[in-house]
């Protein structure tokens, strides 16, 4: 032991935390070299997003004892990323973020493996996500957060008393920033509120009423949105607007200027046009660094137990002085995503097709184009075509038979639903109970849908 310590070690600083017993630590903390080695060898961490937060997270995690990292991001590098996404250089513009980020960190931190996935998060099978001990989110979209949250929650199982089973917990750490403000939070589905339990923290963006844009514009933003949402369609019938096409943006800007001049409204600039049309959120390196560091630290603490964990939501605000605040939010008992699942009672004769139709009308779900899996088996898949064809014959069979004739079992369905006028992918867990089958008690159905 003493000899091992005398050797110069990359883990010099981290060892103090991982090898020594402590007083303010997690319940599962077992300090020692085994812990350090297990963290390096076995702990698998997924970083979702390779942008401002993702770049920082990969660096922070690679220097916090984790050696098995993967990162998923569908974007390519843009010039406007370079003021904060420090793993990218000008010559990287146009390349996939996940690939460049992974490569840069592996070049500098020896012994770390980072597997990049250049694709949409929805492109991965649910099983892909179950492989990780913990998922860290560095995203700027509510929809993407919501999707990953529902995936992590789908692994959560409940026992017959509706208590969450600890071995199915899939912890997440989520960060977000806007300008000088940000948040970091710990989500352990089944224990803490999930993203959906506190969805009210992220109110949808307020849009301008169309009649204001058309009839009584008052601000520069009104003129821009008029050009973007009304005039574009009038002039370019059928051709959809592409915010990443500079010619399209210039057209909107020119139209907005004309309209502003017509009404005597000041303030239309090209920069504002981009900001309004693309809904650009200001972003800087320092806030991303703060939030990512907090997320990486929580990831280390949750995985190793080397200290207590954040419970459960940290906000940072650097606009007026410096304010950090920890809030302990509580779970929504009726949450559709992290709860035991929406209870659905069915006759044993209901076919899979009929069941899928039912999901579309179910008031809590409103789920269209559903794919259905049961304990890892695909009962029906909408895509890809090969899988669709393979599972199509199941549609006419009774669900009861497809589910192995159990009285009560959980199902996972994925599909799309409309939220704030936007189509979003969702994953939902359902508890299906068949009527008139042995083993179903009144207790099981009490308080159901």
């Amino acid at each position: 032991m003493a000899d091992a310590e005398a050797q110069p070690s990359q883990s010099r600083d981290l060892d103090k935390l991982l090898l020594r017993p402590g007083h303010l630590v997690g319940a599962n903390f077992e300090p020692g070299q085994d812990l350090r080695d297990d963290l390096a060898q076995y702990a698998k961490v997924l970083v979702v997003g390779a942008g401002g937060l993702g770049c920082e997270l990969l660096k922070d995690l690679a220097l916090s004892g984790f050696k098995n990292l993967e990162v998923i991001d569908m974007d390519r590098i843009e010039v406007t990323n370079l003021n904060r996404q420090f793993l990218f250089r000008l010559e990287d513009v146009g390349k996939p973020k996940a690939e460049v980020a992974a490569k840069r960190v592996m070049e500098r931190v020896s012994g770390v493996s980072i597997k990049p996935h250049y694709c949409r998060i929805e492109d991965k099978e649910i099983d892909f996500y179950s492989d990780f001990n913990i998922i860290v989110l560095g995203l700027d979209s509510i929809e993407a957060r919501s999707y990953i949250n529902s995936v992590a929650c789908s692994f959560l199982e409940y026992d017959s008393d509706d208590n969450p089973r600890e071995e199915t917990f899939k912890p997440m750490v989520d960060g977000g920033t806007e300008g000088f403000k940000g948040h970091a939070r710990v989500i352990v589905p089944g224990v803490t509120p999930c993203f959906e339990c506190t969805i009210w923290l992220f109110p949808p963006q307020v849009k301008f009423p169309l009649c204001t844009l058309a009839e009584t514009p008052r601000t520069a933003a009104h003129c821009i949105e008029y050009a973007h949402l009304i005039k574009w369609d009038e002039v370019h019938s059928g051709k959809s607007f592409d915010p990443d096409d500079p010619k399209h943006m210039k057209w909107v800007y020119d139209e907005a200027v004309k309209r502003a001049e017509l009404f005597g409204i000041p303030g239309v600039t090209y920069s504002l046009t981009q900001g309004v049309v693309k809904n650009i959120i200001p972003a800087i390196a320092s806030t991303n660094a703060i939030i990512s560091a907090a997320c990486a630290l929580e990831t280390l603490k949750i995985t190793s137990g080397c200290s207590k964990t954040l419970s459960n939501y940290l906000t940072y605000n650097g606009v007026e002085g410096l304010h950090t605040k920890v809030t302990e939010f509580v779970r929504d008992k009726d949450c559709l995503v992290c709860g035991p699942g929406v209870l659905i009672e069915l006759e044993t004769s209901v076919t899979l097709q009929k069941f899928i139709d039912l999901l579309e009308e179910h008031p809590k779900l409103l789920l269209s184009k559903a794919s259905v899996t049961h304990q890892g088996n695909n009962l029906y898949m909408q895509a890809p075509p090969v899988l669709e064809e393979m599972t199509r014959s199941n549609l006419s069979l009774p669900l009861f038979e497809l589910m192995g004739k159990t009285a009560k079992s959980a199902l996972h369905v994925t599909g799309t639903t409309t939220k704030n006028d936007k189509k979003t992918s969702v994953l939902r867990k359902l508890r299906v109970v068949f009527k008139g089958v042995d083993g179903v008690t009144d207790m099981d159905t009490a308080g159901g849908a």
Partner: protein, 523 residues
């Protein structure tokens, strides 16, 4: 393509081109480039500061590879300052990056005038002695200074300078400047020209709430001896009057008027924060006064004279339901008044400058305009010297923190962060820095901490065993995630100081990586 503008687009949206220009002019000196220092600088280099000078006397060790991203295996044995500097240069070639291989402690001792060339010094991982000395040097040279330190799961950030004044404090929530409780003649006249009882329902629902409130408030004042609603009943009655004027339920302008009626009830005149700045002795200006205080002196005269108790008008109005024509006209009325106010302030500023023997045109009109637009939001930050705080912290505050549950961990770490330096001075290493003999280290640290508390005038108070134990466990380690957090905070504050925008932190920020219940301590 204007490449830098595109590259900095996302930050230009926060601090604008003026803020960016200030950053690009700034020269930053970093003392010690472990992870805390190099992460601080990384965030500033990405943002495009003018130049950086990295000062560190150490060579890269294997242990550094585990916590510092800016060194790699090929760096071992080389100057850490050089390795960190060359990585930082890679991030942004617009930044002038250089390094000096020297220990900051030695530089502080032997070459104090060295620091006067910089805009700002970021001093990381320094012990108490060097902090005090450096603070004295930087205050004398008028160089901004920020300290940052990471230590296990704790750490601190502390700004130190005599005075920092902010015009563009850009607060998130600040009441708009509509003067509904005190309209000037042009606004009154404009309101008089509009008939609230207009028959056309489309016109009725497009009368801006500003006009509605000015008119209804005037009516109220006429029937109430010139005063505006002040009691709860009166306020309710006023809102009922507004409600009664609605001709249909979907009139958003009236809903906005009811919601904004508190602006009519608000007290006239300036707020207590601005009053305090006007009362500051620095507002009595002389030839040594800064432009900021000269403008404050003019502002004080304006408020007492032309302003009739009010600051210059801000001149912008929020969006509100309205016809385009009325909105644009209203905007013009506010803008005209703001411009007139700027002219008055300008005259007063020029006179004051002449009186104190300065060039009357030394403050530009753009500066004056910006000052007037932000007159209600001015901020002045002053920081105690490190020596004063260390020798005589504000005792009632310290005692309050020590007995307040919300602060107990943060103040505990504050005391312990100071105690470990005393410990190191006595025993030549930090508590728990090396393995073995932990029990003895713990009891020594406890004795040191209790001694420190009693020196500070807090006899009989002690810290929890848990915290002392943890501090020994930390053993002066610099964990990357903690360093990145502390460095992130430090760089954020540097940006606010250099751009003179937003409000920098006050007091000492104590980080608690255990539960994130960090605190600001004013000592």
């Amino acid at each position: 393509m204007a490449e830098p503008k595109t590259k900095y687009d996302r930050q230009l949206r926060i601090w604008g081109e003026q803020g960016q220009a200030a950053l690009e002019k700034a020269s930053i000196c970093l003392l010690n480039c472990g992870p805390t220092g190099s992460e601080t600088l990384k965030n500033l280099v990405l943002g495009g500061v003018g130049s950086i000078t990295v000062i560190d006397g150490s060579k890269v060790e294997v242990g550094d590879l585990g916590n510092n991203f800016m060194v790699d295996e090929s760096s071992v044995g080389q100057s850490k300052a050089q390795c960190v500097c060359s990585f930082l240069q890679e991030l942004n070639d617009a930044v002038k990056a250089k390094f000096i291989e020297e220990y900051p402690e030695a530089l502080i001792e032997t070459n104090p005038s060295f620091f006067s060339q910089f805009t700002l010094v970021v001093a990381t991982q320094l012990g108490e002695d060097s902090m005090v000395k450096l603070d004295t040097i930087c205050r004398q040279a008028n160089v901004m200074l920020i300290f940052a330190r990471s230590y296990g799961l704790t750490g601190f950030v502390r700004i130190s300078l005599k005075e920092h004044t902010v015009v563009e404090s850009k607060p998130d929530h600040f009441l708009d400047d509509l003067r509904l409780n005190n309209p000037w003649p042009e606004l009154k006249r404009f309101a008089e020209s509009i008939d609230l009882d207009v028959q056309d329902p489309v016109v009725h629902k497009h009368t801006p709430y500003v006009v509605i409130l000015v008119k209804v408030a005037e009516q109220w004042a006429k029937s109430h001896g010139g005063s505006l609603p002040s009691t709860r009943d009166e306020k309710k009655e006023f809102k009922d009057l507004l409600k009664a004027r609605m001709i249909s339920m979907d009139e958003d302008n009236y809903k906005e008027a009811i919601e904004a009626s508190f602006k009519v009830f608000a007290r006239r005149g300036i707020g207590p924060d601005l009053q305090q700045i006007l009362n500051d002795s620095s507002a009595e200006v002389d030839s040594n006064s800064s432009d900021f205080w000269v403008m404050v002196a003019a502002l004080k005269e304006f408020i007492a004279n032309e302003g009739g108790g009010e600051a210059p008008l801000e001149g912008s109005i929020p969006d509100m339901t309205s016809s385009t024509e009325l909105y644009v006209n209203l905007q013009n009325i506010y803008q005209a008044k703001a411009e007139a106010d700027v002219l008055v302030i300008e005259q007063r500023v020029r006179n004051i400058l002449k009186k104190i023997g300065k060039d009357p045109n030394s403050i530009s009109q753009t500066t004056l305009k910006g000052f007037c637009r932000n007159a209600r939001k001015l901020k002045v930050c002053r920081y105690r010297s490190i020596e004063d705080e260390f020798n005589s912290p504000i005792l009632p505050e310290l005692q309050k923190y020590l007995t307040d549950e919300d602060y107990s961990v943060a103040v505990g770490f504050y005391i312990l962060l100071r105690a470990v330096d005393r410990f190191a001075a006595n025993y030549n290493s930090f508590p728990g820095q090396f393995d073995g003999g932990m029990d003895e280290e713990i009891s020594r640290l406890k004795t040191t901490a209790v001694g420190l508390l009693s020196d500070l005038g807090c006899n009989g108070l002690t810290l929890t065993e848990d915290l002392i134990n943890e501090m020994c466990r930390f053993g002066a380690s610099e964990l990357h995630a903690v360093a990145a957090f502390i460095g992130g905070i430090a760089s954020q504050e540097v940006i606010k100081l250099i751009t003179s925008q937003f409000l920098p932190m006050s007091g000492t920020f104590i980080f608690s990586g255990i539960d994130h219940k960090s605190q600001l301590l004013s000592l």
